[in-house]
């Protein structure tokens, strides 16, 4: 029981991170029908920006840890968002009316370019960050097993919840979110209602990238070690999460992220840690065979 509870906590933490990244995939897919393969790399870039900002803030500027964390959050979110905007302008927008394969390849190009840039600029070796936020609370102590919830895990879950709540509010309740959904459903009609479709698409990339940037920051603080390659597998898993939840569905992406995190944690704990990715992706295949639209994706009910 204690062991189970601990895995649940670990899985939810991991799942929160995947969920944040998955939102970016699903949003871009929803609007453009394009898989943004560079999205996982943005998460990696967010991790590096966080590491650098945090170290510079604490050592060079000598700020306190809480202030450094706030600075890191703004830097990670802001710079990745800026990158998302730039990449869309430079690498995807010119290909908007090209065959569907072209922006896909362009995204892979952006991803490889960014990965190699970080590998060259920052070195290929893994970068450690000494634990910043230590300790936590003990939830249960049965004598031979302790269930604990670290402060870092609390922060990750709380922040993910907060971001998802704000995000959900923006998408479902505000004019910006309405315009975003309108573009997703019928871009031409949205423009006939005076919506600047290009701006909505830019915003989509900016939001998605910002969320991935925050996920990158959290993973840096959580694991304390990053390298230029972490975006690849995390990106594929977040993409899997988006597909599992139903690509294009925002609640689906969050749910898919949590499920992938949980599957990974439980499989590692009860079966074998080496085979965790085998398990994760087998489940993906199984779900898609029986439910091709994903868990929350739904075939449209449209007339005409």
């Amino acid at each position: 029981m204690e062991y189970f509870l601990q895995q649940l906590i670990n899985g939810l933490t991991l799942g929160a991170i995947y969920g944040l990244v998955a939102l970016g995939y699903t949003m871009v897919y929803g609007v453009l029908g394009m898989i943004n393969f560079a999205h996982g790399t943005i998460y990696m870039v967010g991790a590096f920006i966080s590491l650098i900002t945090f170290l510079v803030a604490t050592t060079v500027l000598g700020t306190s840890v809480p202030l450094a964390l706030v600075l890191t959050l703004f830097a990670a979110m802001g710079l990745t968002a800026l990158w998302g905007w730039t990449a869309e302008r430079v690498a995807y927008r010119p290909l908007r009316s090209a065959p569907r394969l072209a922006p896909l390849i362009s995204a892979i190009g952006v991803s490889i370019m960014l990965q190699n840039f970080v590998a060259q600029a920052q070195g290929a070796r893994a970068k450690p960050l000494p634990p910043v936020i230590k300790g936590g609370v003990t939830l249960m102590d049965s004598g031979d097993f302790v269930v604990s919830l670290s402060w870092m895990q609390i922060i990750i879950m709380a922040m993910t919840l907060a971001l998802m709540a704000v995000f959900t509010w923006v998408i479902t309740r505000t004019a910006l979110g309405r315009a975003q959904r309108a573009c997703e459903q019928d871009m031409k009609m949205a423009s006939l209602l005076g919506i600047d479709v290009d701006r909505v698409i830019s915003t989509t990339f900016v939001i998605g990238a910002g969320l991935a940037g925050v996920a990158g920051m959290m993973v840096t603080l959580y694991y304390g070690v990053i390298d230029f390659y972490i975006g690849f597998l995390a990106g594929i898993k977040a993409f899997t999460a988006a597909v599992l939840g139903g690509i294009g569905s925002l609640p689906g992406a969050m749910l898919g992220g949590l499920l992938i995190g949980l599957i990974e944690a439980f499989w590692s704990a009860y079966f074998s840690i080496e085979y965790k990715d085998v398990a994760t992706f087998s489940i993906l295949v199984a779900v898609l065979v029986f439910r091709p639209t994903g868990l929350l994706g739904q075939p449209d009910v449209e007339k005409i």
């Binding site: 309405r178 959904r181 031409k188 009609m189 209602l193 005076g194 600047d196 449209e302 007339k303």
Partner: protein, 237 residues
């Protein structure tokens, strides 16, 4: 209000409009009739900037709008209820109407909503229903209502009668007349249902293969032998 001169446009290499001249004066209802594939929809969409005109000019309220991006054109007192209605299927009726008001002044929203719901009481009962689950007639009402939410000076209507039962068609045409009469909205109407359209309109144009071949008052065109033979099927549509 709307003046079109020598307008040409098309899709890639296919030219669909071969030099169109049309003028719609403030307060008028003008109908454009023509067979399938004549280029009626293309004309309305070209006015809105998508596809772009390859030659010719479009003036809206005295200003040249040719070549402007669609979302700019649509912010100049023009609204379009397009072919196929294009309701946002996964948005509620209310959200669809809110989208129609997206380019308007938020301070007018409540008032405009009331005005549109008075015109279409059917929509009032269905505000929370998803657009995609409305009947064809309700979708057409929503499309027109959504267009009116921006307080347009001129309304483009592409085949509002398509696929609807005669009774519903009559209702919708009556409402169009009412909008024109009571709210002073200028209407440019495209129809295959030439009989109804020409009866409703002050003036009409006939389009064949991307060219305007005839024009005149609604009554004149209705009386024309050629039109009776080609577009009215000898009877009344």
């Amino acid at each position: 209000m709307l003046r079109i001169e020598g307008l040409q446009s098309g899709y890639g290499r296919i030219q669909a409009l071969h030099g169109i001249d049309i003028a719609v004066t403030e307060g008028e209802i003008v109908a454009l009739v023509g067979a399938n594939g004549a280029g009626k929809t293309t004309l309305l969409m070209t006015i809105c900037g998508n596809p772009r005109a390859s030659a010719g000019k479009v003036w809206l309220a005295g200003e040249d709008i040719t070549g402007l991006p669609t979302h700019h054109i649509m912010r100049r007192g023009l609204a379009h209820s397009p072919e196929g209605r294009r309701i946002f299927p996964r948005m509620s009726v209310l959200e669809n109407l809110q989208m129609g008001a997206a380019r308007g002044d938020p301070a007018h929203f409540a008032q405009d909503l009331e005005r549109v719901l008075d015109l279409f009481p059917r929509l009032k009962e269905r505000l929370a229903q998803r657009g995609g689950t409305l009947s064809g007639g309700e979708q057409q009402m929503l499309a027109i209502g959504r267009a009116l939410m921006s307080r347009p000076k001129i309304l483009l209507l592409d085949e509002p009668s398509l696929g609807l039962a005669p009774l519903v068609v009559r209702q919708i045409f009556e409402i169009v007349a009412e909008i024109n009469r009571e709210q002073g909205v200028t209407v440019f109407l495209v129809e295959q249902n030439a009989f109804h359209a020409l009866k409703l309109a002050h003036r009409g144009y006939v389009m064949v293969n991307g060219k305007v071949t005839m024009s005149g008052s609604g009554a004149e065109l209705l009386a024309n032998e050629e039109i009776r033979a080609h577009y009215l099927g000898g009877g009344h549509g």
